[in-house]
Symmetry: C2
Subunit: 514 residues, 2 copies
């Protein structure tokens, strides 16, 4: 079994325990960890580091660079243990989020295609140790990644030393699904010769000089399964709106019958909307995305999707079992790439992606907040949404029109944080309807967003704000002193609805006491 997984005999001498490997990590170091949306993450060495710090009581802080979020409790326990100084470019863990918002962890929220450029150019602290998961190590000592590629290749290339977590829990059939390609330094770079989602341009494994491999830890621990929420009535309605819109685009001759390569953001809403294609007439679809969730595999199973390119696979426990038992059957229809390639503006623009991402809130002019609750508290991070929305053919954002049982409107006069400007937001979908904003001015956008996408309970308030703003004039009319009044009302009164105050004890609406 080992010979199949560790094919370079000389490397057997570097087998160590997780504890031993964790011992090499010193205070002040910068670590580059594999892992993207809980998939293919470094697991046992970071955990052993936390154990070590708990046992010794030492003061240790490290910078942690990743692909995206880690699973296996790693983000949570590292945050709790207080060992993270600086973290980038994405996270999605409750305890880490709390430490970020209290200012205890320095979090740098980046476009997911940008981190590799910064590592390469040396504009962020250099990586001391890369810790990356492998399903196998080749005869040359090269690393075959597992369920994600993320930033692993660039971390390995630029780290001083590399620790490999050789994870036997992943099926060896993952080998061959990866396509590792390095764009090289800016200014000395050739075009990326990728013109279709299914093309291979790189190698199957991450190349690394043998001497750089400091140690290999054998593990047998599966990825954390996704806890994705299944589609509900509202997300099904959103999917129906979106599919009706795409149908119209085909009819108008603006999209071919097979549409264009699809990208979908991480999370339940985006997954549910993707699920909508199952019952649609569309076939021979292509996916060029970052994370491949349950819906993509359901659509592959149903022969709705012809080919899917991503940078990680994250599945629910049930879907995971089914997929990995028969992974061979997916292999000629799947590629996993570095996140720099899955999210590269060059490819996104060339292929003309249809990009579907989730908004936390959006405003009447179509600016989108993807990250900050009430403008201040970080949720997860911008992820790849900026890479995709800016450079895609169609930048689509989906969200339910209300949250917290109607106490929050997802559509507000002025978003409390801007991640995507009106220039990058082509279409908005809520369970209420769809707003096609292409070629519209801000005033035109406002009318259609309010009438098509806002919840009926909030439309009168939105209309009133917009009318008052229009009286003052401007390309993008606003009443600045009231722009955030919806957020401050929620903070004070527990609801964004005017003339209502939520009694927090009974959680019922009662007339305002103001």
């Amino acid at each position: 079994m080992f010979a199949k997984r560790l094919r370079n005999a000389s490397l057997q001498q570097r087998l160590v325990t997780a504890r031993e490997a964790a011992g090499w990590i010193q205070d002040g170091m910068t670590l580059g960890l594999s892992g993207f949306t809980q998939a293919g993450d470094a697991k046992v060495v970071p955990r052993a580091l936390v154990d070590r710090v708990k046992q010794t009581g030492e003061q240790l802080k490290v910078n942690v660079y990743t692909g995206a979020s880690l699973g296996s409790e790693v983000d949570g326990i590292m945050a709790e243990a207080g060992i993270i100084n600086r973290r980038l470019p994405f996270q999605a863990e409750k305890r880490m989020r709390s430490k970020i918002n209290s200012g205890d962890i320095i979090y740098v929220d980046q476009h997911l295609s940008h981190t590799a450029e910064m590592v390469r150019a040396g504009t962020i602290d250099p990586i001391d140790i890369a810790i990356v998961e492998a399903v196998a190590i080749t005869e040359e000592g090269y690393i075959v990644p597992t369920t994600s590629v993320g930033n692993s290749a660039i971390f390995v290339e630029h780290a001083r030393e590399v620790i490999i977590e050789l994870n036997l829990a992943h099926p060896l059939s993952l080998e061959g699904v990866h396509d590792i390609y390095d764009v090289g330094p800016q200014g000395k770079r050739q075009p990326i010769m990728l013109t279709e989602a299914e093309q291979r341009i790189g190698t199957q494994a991450i190349q690394v000089p043998l001497e750089k491999i400091k140690g290999i830890v054998v593990t047998e621990e599966p990825d954390t399964a996704s806890s994705i929420v299944q589609p509900d009535e509202e997300t099904a309605t959103m999917a129906a709106h979106l599919i009706e819109f795409l149908r119209g685009e085909v009819k108008a001759g603006r999209l071919p019958k097979t549409l264009a390569p699809l990208q979908s953001g991480i999370g339940s809403v985006a997954n549910a909307v993707f699920h909508g294609f199952l019952a649609s007439e569309f076939t021979d679809l292509e996916v060029y995305s970052e994370v491949l969730q349950d819906a993509v595999f359901d659509l592959l199973d149903a022969d709705k999707i012809r080919f899917a390119s991503g940078c990680s696979i994250i599945l629910s426990p049930e879907k995971g079992k089914q997929v990995y038992r028969n992974f061979e059957k997916y292999k000629d229809r799947l590629i996993l790439r570095p996140q720099e390639i899955s999210n590269h503006p060059e490819i996104i623009r060339r292929l003309g992606l249809i990009a579907i991402n989730t908004a936390l809130e959006l405003d009447i002019y179509g600016n989108v907040n993807s990250t900050h609750v009430m403008g201040t508290n970080m949720m997860n991070g911008i992820g790849g949404s900026g890479d995709f929305a800016r450079n895609s053919r169609l930048g689509i954002f989906v969200t339910k029109s209300i949250a917290k049982g109607g106490k929050i409107s997802s559509i507000v006069p002025f978003v409390s944080h801007v991640d995507h400007t009106e220039h990058d937001v082509d279409v908005i979908v809520t369970e209420q309807g769809i707003a096609d904003l292409r070629g519209l001015s801000p005033r035109e956008r406002a009318r259609i967003i309010i009438e098509n996408c806002a919840h009926p309970d909030y439309r009168p308030q939105l209309r009133a704000y917009f009318e008052e703003a229009c009286e003052r004039g401007g390309q993008t009319p606003h009443v600045l002193e009231k722009a955030f009044s919806w957020h401050t009302r929620f903070q004070k009164e527990g609801t964004m609805l005017e003339g209502q105050t939520i009694d927090k004890a009974t959680n019922e609406k009662e007339p305002t006491r103001v």
Copy 2:
């Protein structure tokens, strides 16, 4: 003379007057006009259209697509005449701005690389007539552009009919400076094989089927000269800060001695900052930008710039005379490309541009407003700044720290409009200093922006806001109810400074009466 300029004899039959050509334009049509930053714009036909409407008193409205701003009064008189329904993607004219802000003209502010995609994909109204300026028409009937390429090629390709303004005022030596390349439809597109600023990948003229040319109007009117403000002490200081920063990057090994291809936005500040390279040690520089202003030609003359690629040339009267008298001597060091190529994310990212653009205001977290005065009134448009800042190696924004004699701080708690998010803003330069924001979290960014870039008069207020915000916590701390208080104070009291009220009559500061 004519034979040299109009080389296809059969086309002589299509020579018409501007008045005749303008007569073909009907109410409700969409026009695609050449012109980028006042350069190479259609001049006499739009003007004849305005004359016609004035004379007949008819009700006529047309949609006007351009490259960027037009010169020769055209934007102004079309706005005054009330004949514009919808305008995109950029303008910079006072009367047009006024009609936009009053809501009389529907203005769609777009990334300058995006318009061509929309025309090609049919997501905006199709173009009825393209009106483009030419320095010559070839034997094949192809159009040799003048001082800009802008969107002319895509307009000509997709318009039903084409009117050519053959402008004899431009030197014929412009021929050969253009490189026309069409990327083709998304999804069927090859990589753009451009790996250096000086490469040619296209043709010297815009191809057009002979039958599509409806008429040719001969004119002899020069471009409107730029009214650029010469460098002052503050812009010279900003240039010095920027050059010192770039020197540091070279020293640290993050940039080669010849830096990386430079992009600079339109306008006096960006031009002045560019001018700073004249006295620097840098040589063999390359420019890959949209508009080439005086500074670029001064740097070419001084052999500081080796090669410049752009999509338009706009010069002051003096510099224009000098350059066009000897245009041959610049021709092997210059290329003008379609704006889709000059601003293409694929090329910007590949070459790793250093992008220098002007901010109208920015906030303590590094979000930039490039377009909206007090969040509502459109200035010019986002232009190419979004194409460049998002996809470049270094997204640099420059602005003076105060405006209106100190009554406005360019650095505020929360920008009143967001064009560029913190993720795209790497470096900020004011006359006060420079803030290198790369790899920093929002709280870290705030401290360095306030201390390095804000005007000393405003630093105490900014610090107070930031401290109060930090007490509330969050990744990006804010006091939402005070976020726009600086703007509303200015609107009420005439100044953003606390405890001051400007007596508008005397324009002097006096203690606040609040």
